[in-house]
Assembly symmetry: C3
Homo-oligomer: 364 residues x 3
């Protein structure tokens, strides 16, 4: 059992699944150290219960779903979608305490979100904005991958794109990004790293995109705007526009990107345990939105880049576990991730342990 | 290393092997957290020693058996069947302390029984009665399976046959058993759950057995009498008889089962470690006793049913280990297993730690 | 993480690799609980660094070597061969603390030696004498094997060749060795076990060697002189000579081995972790030194014998870990290993923890 101090707040929405994963079948997953079982109800909404029968802890996910009720596969206790036991074998009277925990759950922007903390605080307005994943003006698709590292290492990774140069040298990285200046800012629940590279040669990927979409070849203004929303969502606004057509914001007013192509790398990283995570991502674009083939091509291209990160992140996790008290040293490039960590630490600190979740040790 | 509190008494007989497993070769097994090596001596009886050389802990089971003596495979120390070192390399004088522990061991009812506790208390009369496994009026056979769970979960499982309905729905279970009333009683070392279902349609299995054996078709009186003997033996008396021919006991006198067919499901579950067990079982019957083919067929049929239990028990064990302080809630159907647990707890509580066994961590 | 008390001194030279293993590429290895990365520099010497980037602990061995500089594969920090960071991404000023530990390293007798302790004490004169491995008058070759046991169990094994009789019964062992008398002596950093068997029939292996090399058949004087040098080197002087030609030393003077054949079994066993080791060995001989085929044949012959030891040592390690506080009992044959253990304990005891090494748990 993992008895380390909390690495994530409980009062937050976490992506538990892609919408298409949840159908009329029992789906088991561990979210924030909590084993849960989810299923789509007959009315189309999603229910999520603790995955352990009240009676003898048998995982309910090994039982049977009939309508909106789950029957335990050992002794046949039946639970409704709110986790209340509605049938016990060989007895008429039901123990009034017989229930399993149910979790607030909502669908938005193609993800199923769950709230592991105090249900009375589960405000839908706190679900991070990832609307690009579900908007007619944008096209895209993504995947979920399982990474054997603390979710915060993924956030660190995304908050500093310098690593593109060294980890993704064979695809999207080049020295220019590593050396470009950036600005880091933050709010109460968010931190932003903005990097504008004006009047440069477009890197091969973007040179191809803007030529195909806008028929343009030549110098570009390029941007990378990384926005972290606590505790674990990072949306990255990326793109290029014809140089000098006003894409960068000026003074207080937004820029004009009409001569450009724009993408969003959407990332939300859900702790599975303290040392592992479910990483949900998608890439959405605002050009050639009806071309399924391009959607497919971009999704697979991003997937192969993320596999390179996976390798690095898992190696880093092992090194950290071997040196439990080793401090992290920070460079200038870590400004964004330092703010992200600070916001997460703040959310954790202000939580009273009113709804402790028992950390689980996943069986091998 | 497992440092949890004891889950079983030491002063008890535990099945260590089926008789046929132990021949003139070294057989290693872990029983009650104790690694042992056993072998059949030249006089036909069984010897059992601690499986670690006195000198440098080399497992004796990796050495050689010659006659009734075991030679360590590292430096050649020789032990007799009582565990006394009788030869050391390159020296004439033997260290008088040089011995390994030997365990009381007896064969009965086709099992080799060992006593891990105080040898002076190893009373053969305490071996549980499983005579049906070795009786000319009964025919049957069984197996040993290894289950990755606390042996007490297997006892729980056997003390409540309600689970047949849900775990074994495709074979022997049906709603009738789950809903039939039962009576639970107990003694000093035993607990019994009795369920009579009178004047019912026989379930398919028993309908076939009574028709083939007695030529009878029609309503039956059916019984399931589950008898637990502490700490880990459960013998289940099962069968059907022609309805109304007096099978159920009346007043103080036993019933007349002469118009029926009777089987015994014999189970004795030996802790390997606190979290794993060796499960010995057999099915014996009092009809068509000379038909080897039926013996074979019934043994394989029971084996496939027990594999379903194995799946459930191992899932339950994982869930329990993830929630070490979680209480068990009990239903009416748990009356039998509650008594069984109470009797085991009583045996553990009254043991003085005079002969502690060092818990082992089995290497992966 | 392994928090057990030290099992080896830090102020000592340990073989880290065979010379041929280290080329112009990054080689990762764990030595004395320390993860290191080594590489051959452009000047031909070997550099060794701690295998974790100062910034975020990424293993440097997953980065890139260019000339004598290592670039971290995550964010591109660059280290020179002394472990000093000489480049950071996106910043001009380097943090003066930015460095990783480098280790004293020397090549001698075909091994790369590293000193995990206080660098100011790394006296080259303390490298154990294994010159037979790199001497024109001797021919031989060897291997490195990984053994899942405390390195001291390998030392124990080598200090008492009685085990040959039982472990290597099918190859080099026979009862004669187990029963021959021996003399054990010791110095400040060394312990020696000497066994002379005069005027005996040569065992098959040596009978063949002396016949082919010297044309001699008949009685021999045979010797086994095992010399331990703390903390983990054991060189064994073995051979036979024509009986009565003066091979055994007499009074204070060395014997005359000119009528014999002589080999050295060279062994140095480097702790990887407290429970695992890298075992470097070679077999060198002073006859038929130009015959490559014989070198090959002898190396493979020894390798197959050592695999038998590996099996025994790993079984013993598991047994010891299961009984953490169990004492070792000693026999007369353990005189040599008792002295070796005492010398190692002395070296450990006199070390101040001035340069503690954080024990690592190797990831599965």
């Amino acid at each position: 059992m993992n008895t380390a101090k909390p690495t994530f707040p409980l009062n937050a929405w976490y992506a538990a699944a892609y919408d298409v994963e949840v159908v009329g079948k029992l789906l088991a997953r561990t979210i924030c150290n909590q084993k849960v079982v989810m299923f789509r109800k007959t009315d189309g909404s999603v229910a999520m219960l603790e995955d352990a029968c009240w009676h003898r802890l048998m995982p309910l996910s090994l039982g049977h779903l009939q309508g909106d009720e789950v029957t335990c596969g050992y002794h046949g206790l039946v639970y409704n979608a709110q986790g209340r036991c509605v049938h016990m074998p060989s007895q008429e009277t039901l123990n009034p305490s017989a229930c399993v925990r149910s979790f607030p759950v909502l669908e938005r922007h193609r993800f199923v979100w769950m709230w592991p903390g105090d249900p009375t605080k589960a405000d839908p307005a706190l679900i991070p904005d990832m609307h690009w994943n579900d908007d007619a003006e944008w096209a895209g698709d993504g995947k979920m991958i399982h990474v054997k590292c603390d979710y915060r290492l993924v956030v660190d990774n995304l908050m500093d794109l310098t690593h593109e140069t060294f980890v993704h040298g064979s695809s999207i990285g080049n020295r220019a990004v590593a050396e470009a200046p950036f600005v880091a800012t933050h709010g109460d629940r968010s931190a932003t790293v903005t990097r504008w590279m004006e009047n440069i040669d477009a890197p091969p990927f973007w040179a191809g995109q803007i030529k195909e979409a806008r028929g343009y070849q030549g110098k570009v203004d390029r941007w990378q705007i990384i926005r972290f929303e606590a505790p674990c969502t990072v949306n990255i606004d990326v793109g290029v526009a014809e140089a000098g057509t006003g894409a960068p914001p000026k003074g207080g007013s937004a820029g004009d990107r009409s001569k450009g192509v724009n993408g969003f790398v959407l990332n939300t990283i859900t702790p599975e345990t303290n040392d592992t995570c479910h990483y949900f991502w998608a890439f959405a674009r605002n050009y050639r939105v009806t071309e399924q083939r391009l959607t497919h091509q971009l999704r697979e291209g991003v997937a192969s880049i993320f596999r390179e990160d996976e390798h690095v992140l898992e190696a880093q996790q092992i090194a950290i576990q071997e040196r439990p008290n080793h401090p992290f040293y920070n460079l200038n490039i870590d400004a964004g991730s330092m703010w992200a960590r600070r916001l997460v630490d703040g959310l954790i600190a202000k939580e009273q342990p009113a709804h402790p979740v028992i950390p689980v040790r996943l069986a091998a």
